[in-house]
């Protein structure tokens, strides 16, 4: 049985989360897989032109340049080794390879590192406008639903209206927001938030930070300081450092992940705005090159539109057209 068939069987009793993935990713899937299918249909033989176009398809999905090149090299070897001459034969090899990139022989850790009976601190970082504050609101909502006591820290003291934005989310969800005035030291906000979360015996403290471009050395140092203050107050914290990444971002996402990781030891990615037409394929490359797994995906604007990332579901959503086609072929045989 093929890999995809297994995947499909796993999800034949489809829950709503899978549907959400399918809905959110439908535009993604349509354009990506239909192009892949077209490619296979258009080319009878596997030659240089075929590979060139395959490269382009994956590049269009923002998969990441180096990853694409490597993958194509591997495919070329595989074609030679198995003596594949027609494009039909290569289809399953392509999909399998793409999945392998993410799995890389191990089960990536998608669960959050939660502290039993103690305060869990989650720090959000990222460039400007990727959706950190919104994601925090959605995540707080989820924790609240799970019966956890949540405190928010308004660490974006720079951008106009950022504190209010987080407060609105806090009120909506029904959790406390710790804030200082605009322009104050974000590290001081964190210090207060940690004290307050402890005094309130909260389960989770979610810390917002100002968006910053990763090449701003001073701002990255400020972020290091923010993290240091949390560390000093609670050894082992922050327990998660989540990098919010806009799915529309191109190759620069790799640099973002690398530099934010250097500064704050990012433990996971939240891939936001995946409900658009962007594919967010760069997460495959980021996982492969930096080992940072995706933990959540943002699939819409509503409070419950934040889904825990599940690689199988993601891949299934991305390739479900292919699954169906592969099945058809198997049935014909």
């Amino acid at each position: 049985m093929s890999f995809f068939k297994k995947l499909k069987e796993k999800f034949t009793t489809q829950d709503t989360a899978t549907d959400k993935y399918k809905d959110g990713l439908s535009k993604t899937r349509n354009s990506f897989t239909s192009r892949l299918n077209d490619l296979v249909a258009n080319y009878r033989t596997v030659d240089e032109d075929f590979f060139e176009e395959l490269e382009e398809i994956m590049i269009q999905a923002d998969v990441g340049f180096d990853t694409v090149m490597e993958l194509v090299e591997e495919l070329k070897m595989e074609v030679k080794r198995q003596n594949i001459k027609d494009t039909e034969g290569i289809r399953s090899v392509i999909s399998q390879k793409l999945v392998d990139i993410y799995y890389d022989g191990e089960e990536p850790d998608e669960l959050l590192n939660m502290q039993e009976d103690d305060l869990t601190v989650i720090l959000f970082v990222g460039v400007n406008g990727v959706g950190k504050t919104t994601t925090i609101g959605k995540l707080a909502h989820q924790f609240k639903e799970d019966g956890k006591k949540v405190v928010l820290a308004a660490g974006d003291t720079f951008r106009a209206g950022a504190i209010e934005q987080l407060e609105v989310w806090g009120d909506r969800v029904g959790v406390d927001t710790i804030k200082h005035s605009e322009g104050s030291d974000p590290a001081a906000v964190m210090y207060d938030a940690v004290q307050s979360a402890r005094a309130k015996k909260a389960d989770v403290l979610i810390c917002d930070t100002a968006g910053r471009l990763q090449n701003k050395v001073n701002l990255m140092k400020e972020l290091e300081k923010v993290k240091r203050v949390i560390e000093r107050e609670i050894p082992g914290a922050p327990h998660e450092v989540l990098l919010a990444l806009d799915a529309t971002t191109g190759q620069n996402a790799m640099t973002q992940a690398k530099i934010f990781k250097e500064a704050t030891n990012v433990s996971g990615i939240v891939l936001t705005k995946l409900d658009g037409t962007a594919k967010g394929g760069i997460v495959l490359a980021i996982k492969k090159e930096l080992g940072i797994p995706v933990k959540f995906v943002g699939l819409g604007e509503k409070m419950d539109d934040l889904q825990p990332f599940n690689a199988e579901k993601y891949v299934y959503g991305l390739f479900s057209d292919l699954v169906d086609k592969e099945e058809l072929i198997e049935e014909e045989e």
Partner: protein, 449 residues
């Protein structure tokens, strides 16, 4: 992890050609592959790349490259010319309505930077064009978006019109324009909510605002880090609204910004402005030819030279040159120089504009956060006038005092003095060498350790 620029990419192919005496069609093809990859790496949409490479290939296979003695250089030249051509000329003018107020609509995806850009644009209109703009807060969806615009308005002392988040954006836009007429504002900037280009309901809302407010400009605000999807986004917004111009934001980041080329080539609309920083005056006219260099990873010398020109006092420069020649350069002069360098902006950004700086030994990992400059300043400022004139009188106890005054360790003061001494020596040698027509030497600034 700086990406390789086109020049680096072409190195390999050029090496192969060198010594062959003749460039074959196959060689050109290989170089074209490198061109293609360089552009893809810069996030230019693959379709745009394809057409572009085809165009360049035709010119390259023709006489220009194959007959050239320096085919690599020639390819770069052709690519750069074609790219600049495609990017179009500089167009940062803003429409003026026959009957005021002129209405500008700001549209785009979530998080592109519409609200910030609205504020920057209003500030630019007032400062550079002597206009009296009114900002209209029509983003009722994102929490505190209205508050954000109001805060920006307060910072800039610019009026902001808002009706809260319970009124439809169409109504707000209408009322905003009325208000502008009443109060004789000549520009109205409507800050709309971010939305997905595939969200029909919200795109319809924009169409309604457009119909009602009859805008003179519709600016699509796009994040310069956008990947391949930039074409879809730009195309959809343009199809729905008829965009008149593009503002590229967050260009002070380290993205290559290939999205600029993608958008330009699918919509044909000019990119008018670029967001270059978080400060409210960091909105600059977009320079297509510089963007071409940036996409190709060739640095941005023009901007650097311009920055230097606007910030360096020419008379002072002449005086300094004389001092250098006569070796009467003191620590005071040095401090002065530092000040001028600092005025030009953050050092790391300056360095990035130099082509190949990321490849230069010692410069690739240099930690230029401006703080070291500050330290050097503090040390020099903690010296007496006499010490600055004659650093050789600074003995151990004076060093101790300076260290206390500047809050820097004594070792740092020693290092600075030593480097300054070496610098002076170097300058003397340089002037001597220049007189004799010898090769130039290089010297280290104390803040480049």
């Amino acid at each position: 992890m700086a990406f390789e620029g086109l020049a680096d990419r072409l190195q390999g192919s050029i090496q192969k050609i060198r010594g062959k005496g003749k460039v074959s069609e196959a060689d050109v093809k290989e170089m074209m592959r490198e061109v293609r990859l360089a552009l893809l790496e810069a996030d230019v949409n693959f379709k745009v790349v394809k057409n572009f490479v085809k165009q360049v290939s035709e010119r390259a296979v023709g006489q220009e490259v194959m007959k050239s003695l320096t085919p690599g250089q020639q390819v770069i030249k052709v690519v750069k010319e074609e790219l600049t051509e495609l990017m179009g000329g500089e167009q940062s003018q803003i429409a003026v309505a026959k009957k005021p107020p002129t209405v500008i609509m700001m549209v785009g995806l979530q998080g592109a930077g519409k609200t910030t850009t609205s504020g920057k644009l209003a500030s630019l209109l007032r400062k550079k064009h002597n206009r009296k703009p009114l900002l209209v807060a029509a983003d009722i969806y994102r929490p505190a978006a209205i508050k954000q615009l109001e805060t920006i308005g307060k910072q800039l002392s610019l009026p902001v019109f808002s009706m809260g988040d319970q009124v439809s954006p169409v109504e707000i836009a209408k009322a905003g324009i009325e208000k502008a007429k009443e109060e004789h504002h000549d520009y109205v900037l409507i800050d709309t909510a971010g939305r997905l280009h595939v969200d029909e309901t919200l795109m319809d809302e924009l169409k309604q605002i457009k119909e009602l407010s009859d805008p003179d400009e519709i600016f699509l605000v796009v994040d310069s880090m956008t990947g391949q999807d930039a074409v879809t986004v730009a195309q959809n917004f343009d199809d729905a609204l008829g965009v008149t111009g593009v503002v590229l934001t967050k260009l002070d980041g380290d993205t290559r910004g290939g999205a600029a080329l993608s958008i330009r080539s699918v919509t044909g609309k000019p990119i008018k402005f670029a967001g270059m920083g978080e400060k409210m005056d960091a909105l600059e006219p977009f320079h297509p030819e510089r963007m071409a260099s940036r996409i190709l990873g060739m640095g941005d010398m023009l901007s650097l030279i311009e920055k230097a020109q606007t910030n360096v006092d020419e008379d002072k420069a002449k005086e300094m040159e004389k001092k250098l020649r006569t070796a009467s350069f003191t620590l005071d002069d040095f401090l002065d120089q530092l000040g001028q360098v600092k005025q030009m902006g953050p050092l790391d950004e300056l360095l990035k504009m130099i082509p190949g700086a990321n490849k230069m030994k010692g410069l690739d990992n240099i930690d230029v956060d401006g703080k070291q400059l500050g330290h050097v300043e503090a040390i020099i400022q903690s010296m007496t006038a006499q010490e600055k004139e004659q650093p050789e009188i600074i003995n151990a106890s004076r060093r101790k005092r300076i260290a206390r005054g500047s809050g820097r360790p004594i070792q740092e003061i020693n290092r600075l003095l030593k480097q300054f001494e070496e610098m002076k020596k170097m300058m003397k040698q340089m002037t001597n060498a220049q007189a004799k027509g010898k090769k130039r030497g290089g010297f280290n600034f104390p803040f480049m350790q």
